[in-house]
């Protein structure tokens, strides 16, 4: 199976977030961008499928600024066979539909039976890219997927938890999957593989090529205008009590009268 996995570099979970001086977006300076969250699970799932289906290959693809290269190297260190960096526009863009258009354009020449992504990116949490890529490629797509299994050369089965319950699906290949959970926790890369990945070749599709292919659609239509951090939580108001009954009575009173969240 030819597996493409879509990955987006996102700030490490522990990063301190702050806004750029113009207040429109996240300040990237001083932030370490990594392979993480659902995308890390997508890579893990891609590798698990590859291991269970001899002859499969995993191709990691990332759209955006130069930091994509490092994230792609992380995927190679974990076991991806190839990597493509689809360069973003010089002025930057965080429009998920534009990302999907650029990725889909690059995928025209990349063999793909299965395109795996995260159910949503850990930074913008849009959950838009996988479905948009599928629509552009003219193939089915499924978000919120868990327990993804191959069912022979041309199909997949998976579960999808929804508000109504857990759905079980059968889907044809090729298709796009937005993954919620892999079978396993993501593995860690071994040191020799990390070292090797530093020299691995990364294919590049430059922005002029993409922008020409997208023509009028090369302009972002979703544009960050203001990035705001909540006032830091100042820590809990601690409720003093002597007995469990007193604790219960005080808490319920605060929830009713102060927080006003009591049903």
């Amino acid at each position: 199976m030819e597996i493409v996995v879509l990955i987006k570099p996102i700030p490490e979970a522990e990063s301190r977030l702050r806004a750029t001086p113009d207040g429109r977006g996240l300040e990237p300076e001083g932030v370490k961008f990594v392979l993480a969250g659902y995308d890390e699970s997508a890579v893990e799932q891609a590798l698990l499928l590859k291991e269970s289906l001899p002859g499969s290959r995993v191709h990691a693809v990332s759209f955006g600024p130069a930091r994509c290269e490092e994230t792609l190297r992380a995927a190679i260190a974990l076991g991806a066979d190839r990597a493509t960096w689809v360069e973003g526009p010089p002025e930057g863009s965080d429009d998920p539909v534009l990302a999907a258009r650029a990725l889909a354009a690059a995928l025209q020449t990349v063999p793909h039976d299965l395109v795996l992504g995260g159910k949503q990116a850990g930074d913008d949490e849009e959950g838009i890219v996988p479905g948009a890529v599928a629509e552009l490629l003219g193939i089915p797509s499924f978000g919120y997927v868990t327990d993804l299994r191959s069912s022979g050369p041309s199909g997949l089965t998976f579960l999808r938890p929804t508000e109504a319950g857990v759905e079980r699906w059968e889907a044809p290949l090729p298709c796009v999957v937005g993954l919620q959970q892999a079978w396993n926790d993501p593995r860690s890369a071994k040191l020799p593989n990390i070292l090797k990945s530093r020299k691995a070749p990364i294919l590049k599709v430059d922005w002029p090529t993409t922008s020409k292919a997208l023509a009028l659609e090369a302009k972002p239509r979703s544009i960050g205008e203001k990035f705001e951090l909540p006032a830091p939580r100042t820590g809990a108001k601690m409720i003093e009590f002597k007995t469990p009954e007193e604790a219960a009575e005080k808490l319920v009173r605060l929830l009713r009268e102060e927080a006003k969240v009591f049903p």
């Binding site: 849009e126 959950g127 838009i128 951090l229 939580r233 809990a236 927080a259």
Partner: protein, 329 residues
């Protein structure tokens, strides 16, 4: 300006879902007195009946069985309805279904798109502004969506549900031939329904009571469930609990589980590891109950109780039942 706002409506058991009623409320506000509200639904005649009292002028309806309702099929039908209604904005509820359709619909219909919106405002003839939480609720952003067409999925519970009004909409039946042939091979084989009577699901709940390893043993977890029941809340758990098999992974909240943002989140015997916190920190009010006064959960909580959950929970359940006028149990 007189925009038409189209809502992708979901119904279940002959009633509109909460997220759909929230979307209708937002659509009415955006359309204003001059614009109009339209709706599209895949649920056939029963959905149509559920929808009519909410006052759309026009309804596009298709009868797509849930087994075949792939995002590709729904996006194709919804884009067709959006064209026919000359909508400027399509709104979707913040459900799995709604969010899964958003990206496809945006491409199919040629629109700018965003999901998880907590505020939506028309800012100009071809510009809509949305506010949305990002980074697991650690930040919010305001985005400009520019162009004549916009698709937005809302965040559940961020808006009030519209009340039923009245109306007899004009009904159009959607032609299923717009569905791409490639969608035909995917099939939903089964649905294992969410446990009935177990209260609201995590993503629907306005209150979540979550238990961690501090509950000490699987046998004590019923104390979490009893408090949840008294509050009409959903039950969540930390990963320590799901890993130990006290509850299935569908209960897990956090980085590798679900993200929730209810009005009230009660964390019991949960230390507050960052991987848990990212899944609940955007809750409006957070209560923590923990024996360890230095547990990190108290840094993100609004109210803290330092003490033994096993004695505090029964007292709390009794107090809640008393105040809510429920029979003691």
């Amino acid at each position: 300006m007189t925009p038409t706002v189209l809502v992708l409506a979901e119904a279940s058991g002959g009633l509109l879902t909460g997220p759909t009623k929230e979307a209708i409320g937002v659509a009415r506000t955006l359309a204003g007195p001059d614009g109009s509200l339209a709706a599209v639904t895949m649920g056939g005649p029963s959905a149509l009946e559920a929808l009519a009292p909410f006052g759309p002028k026009e309804v596009w309806v298709a009868d797509v069985p849930p087994e075949a309702a792939t995002s590709g099929a729904v996006a194709a039908l919804a884009a067709h309805a959006a064209d026919e209604s000359r909508a400027a904005i399509v709104l979707l509820g913040g459900t799995t279904f709604g969010r899964d359709v958003t990206g496809r619909l945006a491409v199919r219909w040629g629109a700018a798109a965003a999901t998880g919106a907590t505020e939506v405002a028309i800012a100009g003839p071809e510009e809509v502004h949305v506010r949305r939480p990002v980074f697991g609720g650690r930040a919010t952003e305001m985005r400009r969506l520019v162009g004549p067409r916009t698709v937005i999925a809302l965040r559940p519970h961020a808006f009030a549900e519209a009340a039923a009004s009245a109306g007899t909409p004009t009904v159009h039946v959607l032609d299923r031939s717009v569905i791409p042939a490639t969608e035909g091979a995917a099939r939903r084989r089964s649905l294992d329904p969410a446990e009935p009577g177990s209260g609201p699901s995590l993503s629907d709940a306005t209150i979540v009571v979550s238990g961690g390893r501090g509950m000490r043993a699987a046998e004590n977890f019923h104390l979490i469930e009893e408090l949840a029941q008294s509050l009409g809340a959903a039950v969540g758990a930390s990963r320590a609990v799901t890993d130990a098999g006290w509850r299935p992974t569908s209960f897990q909240i956090g980085q590798t589980g679900r993200a929730v943002s209810p009005q009230l989140y009660i964390a019991v015997g949960i230390s507050g590891a960052i991987q848990h916190v990212v899944g609940m920190v955007s809750s409006r009010t957070i209560v923590a109950i923990n024996t360890d006064a230095s547990a990190p959960i108290f840094k993100v909580a609004d109210y803290g109780l330092v003490g033994d959950a096993l004695t505090i929970l029964p007292a709390l359940t009794r107090e809640v039942r008393k105040v809510r006028g429920l029979p003691a149990n």
